[in-house]
């Protein structure tokens, strides 16, 4: 087989030779939606709607009292399992709590579970992945092997261990979800870093005499972050779902104000008699995941110079 390094090199070398303008064209002009009437502008309408939704959810998380008509803990035993109606737009649950208010008040913890477990996962996974990718060599092997090992250890086992070691509570659910997500983030980050460290601007910076640490901080990390952050937007939703899953397996915490996942898990037994108890929290999760992802996609397109101008 006549595959020489010279040939391998040629491609990138030649790509570099294309005038910069053309390179932009090469990646910019992608297939046109044949015969579609639904065009570019609608992406922004969607993103706008998503932004409004997220803003609304943020409002719910910060000042639920402004939005919710009832207290989330108020158990009106005279009005249990009421179908959606004007006073209770999302109905009431088996305690007689107003489902709408529950969801509004549950926003904070839900977003918190999502955000903080993603944050922890991204920080740990990102750090390990960067280390593995930037330093390389043996450290890379060790870290990635360990990530593989972590991947094979079942998530509920981790959750249980953490709950057992640190006591029950939201914090531990978050930690458990975060730790299970670490290998994924680490992998992506490592791949990114390995790609970015070969970029021209890293070479240029090194040629200028910049210190490796400052290259890592100023060039490599900021440029590697985008896919990780996009992955994190996905993670926001899946963490809430993972929390719901733990709650389903009986590892949740009984909080005064349940998060969406817990609402969903606790209400599932009522699906046939009172569909509204777990359907609306489910829709809340969907709304959140949907909007965050739409925004995430849009934002990646905006940040990623390669995708500039793509819907």
């Amino acid at each position: 087989m006549k595959f020489s390094a010279a040939a391998a090199k040629t491609k990138s070398e030649h790509l570099r030779r294309i005038p910069p303008f053309k390179r932009a064209e090469a990646v910019g002009g992608s297939g046109r939606a044949t015969g579609s009437t639904f065009r570019l502008g609608s992406a922004d309408v969607l993103t706008g709607a998503a932004a409004i939704a997220v803003a609304f959810l943020a409002l719910c998380a910060l000042v639920p009292g402004w939005i919710a008509p009832y207290s989330p803990t108020e158990m009106n035993t005279a009005a249990i399992l009421q179908a959606p109606s004007a006073p209770h737009p999302f109905g009431t649950d088996y305690f007689g709590r107003d489902v709408f208010s529950l969801i509004v008040y549950g926003t904070r913890d839900s977003l918190l579970i999502g955000a903080s477990s993603v944050l922890v996962g991204v920080l740990i996974g990102g750090a390990l992945g960067s280390l593995a990718g930037y330093v390389g060599g043996r450290l890379d092997t060790i870290i990635m092997r360990f990530m593989d090992i972590l991947l094979t250890v079942p998530g509920i086992l981790l959750a249980l261990t953490i709950a057992a070691a640190l006591g029950p509570g939201l914090r531990n659910i978050v930690l458990a979800i975060a730790i299970s997500s670490v290998p994924g983030y680490a992998r992506v980050m490592r791949g990114q870093i390995m790609g970015i460290r070969r970029r021209g601007y890293v070479f240029a910076s090194r040629a200028l005499g910049a210190k490796p640490s400052s290259i890592l901080l100023k060039h490599v990390l900021p440029n590697s972050a985008a896919p990780l952050l996009v992955m994190a937007t996905l993670g926001l939703g899946s963490s809430i779902l993972a929390g719901a899953g733990l709650s389903f397996l009986g590892l949740g915490v009984l909080k005064e104000i349940p998060d969406w996942g817990a609402l969903l898990s606790q209400g599932r037994g009522y699906l046939t008699v009172a569909w509204w108890i777990c359907t609306f929290p489910g829709l809340a999760i969907t709304l959140f995941v949907l909007s965050v992802n739409l925004i995430g996609d849009r934002w990646r397109d905006a940040v990623d110079p390669k995708r500039k101008g793509r819907a």
Partner: protein, 524 residues
Amino acid sequence: GSSSGASTAQAAAGSSGAAASAPVQGGELTYALATSPDTLDPRRSGLAVSVRVFGALYDTLLVRKADGSLGPSLATEWEASGDGLSYTLKLKPGVKFQDGTPFNAEAVKYNFDSIIDPQTKAANALALLRPYKSSEVVDEYTIKLNLETPSQAFLGNLSQGMLSLVSPTAAQKDGENFGKNPVGTGPFKFVGWSENAEIKLARNPDYVWGSEEAKNTGAPYLDTLTFKIVPEEATRIGGVQSGQVLAAETVPPQNVVALQNDPNAQLLQTNTIGFPYTLFFNLEHEPWNELKARQAVQYAVDLDSIVKTLYLGTYERASSSITPGILGYDESLEGKIKPDPAKANALLDELGWIKGADGIRAKDGKKLTLHYVDGSPNREKRNDIAAMIREQLKAIGIETEVEITQDIATVVYQNWDYDLYGNSQVNSDPNGLTSFYRSAGEGRRTLSGLSDPQVDAWLDEGAVEPDEAKRAELYKKVQQYISDQALILPVYVFPYTVAASRSVQGLTFDPFGYPIFNDAYLNK
């Protein structure tokens, strides 16, 4: 309160019409269980769900009849010695284990001796058999059981499924694996168990020694009895509604109504006996060692409303430490304690717990908190009870920390780390109260942690008192003491519910709430 007062299995809904038609031979009954048995070796099992299967696989020496009295099964006659230290039982001749091993005194001796042998790692059976010491084989069909101390509960316990009799040959041969290859004398023999899926039993054609408990004392009508293990409520009920299984146990209250209106399904329900779901205060923890604090909780919690709200009227409220149907049950306790937040507040005020700005009481800078431990998953909506109690206690200034944990063994039974913890037990004799309220030995303790010589004395007396009426009196005293001291919050009596297809007929339950499959048949 319990209207009937009796422990008769009350089949609700459709089963009434069934009695008329003649039983049909054959067919397979699929019966969905909510959890999986741990083992089919009765000696080693610790789960009530296993007993549902034991009833089909095994027989016990005695049975508890619908009226609460003891009846013959494998033992035809029994007689206690004057000192109450031994019982002589006459056994039914001609009984064979499903592997052909004859059932006789030797077999009984083997069973009971192996239970007290630590090698067997016996579980609940060991507790039930206590204070058994040894057996003497008087002749082939007569056995004398010797006890360490007299026990009035002993005989009754012989009717419990955990003391079913296993084939000595098979038990010795299979050793540890016996639980996966059970052999008994029951109406069904074991065919196979595929874990987490199903346990398959087949009709034992030789079975002619059925107890009077079922109408059919011969071999069962069903050819096959298959237990499916279906933990998820919705799936279990869905299974009956879609016809994939013919019966499913533990119907959630919210589905009861729907099932009652379902033309294709029927709902069978019976109350269980023993100790109702009861919340125990931990008397070793401040401030719950003080009567007034406990009383305050007692007055603050509106259990009637909780039970009604959560169980939608399908569960009965418990009022005492034992359920109706148990000897000595004190009906006078029913409705005795009415919720009274004002009184509750007053009691706490008296103790010096003062409401702070956040509405939570505090004393000496310490908040008034109650550590409520409950198991997981949300069995019988017990977590929801916790949630409601938390709300109600908040109203009188108590902050409830609810801990839901999978690891009850550690949190509760090892660390005793709870202020309030709930438990229930299926039992037939009030003597079971001992394990909750009698001061335990050195270094050990009970759920309540009570240590009162008076109670100990009543319980000890009750254990040996041969006169039923006097025994009942003793246990009434205990119940009143428990109630007066506000040691517990009795919550509900658990009804065993089964959703079944209309084709299922003759399915009944024993007083413990365990299904009796011998009369069951399928209408084509």
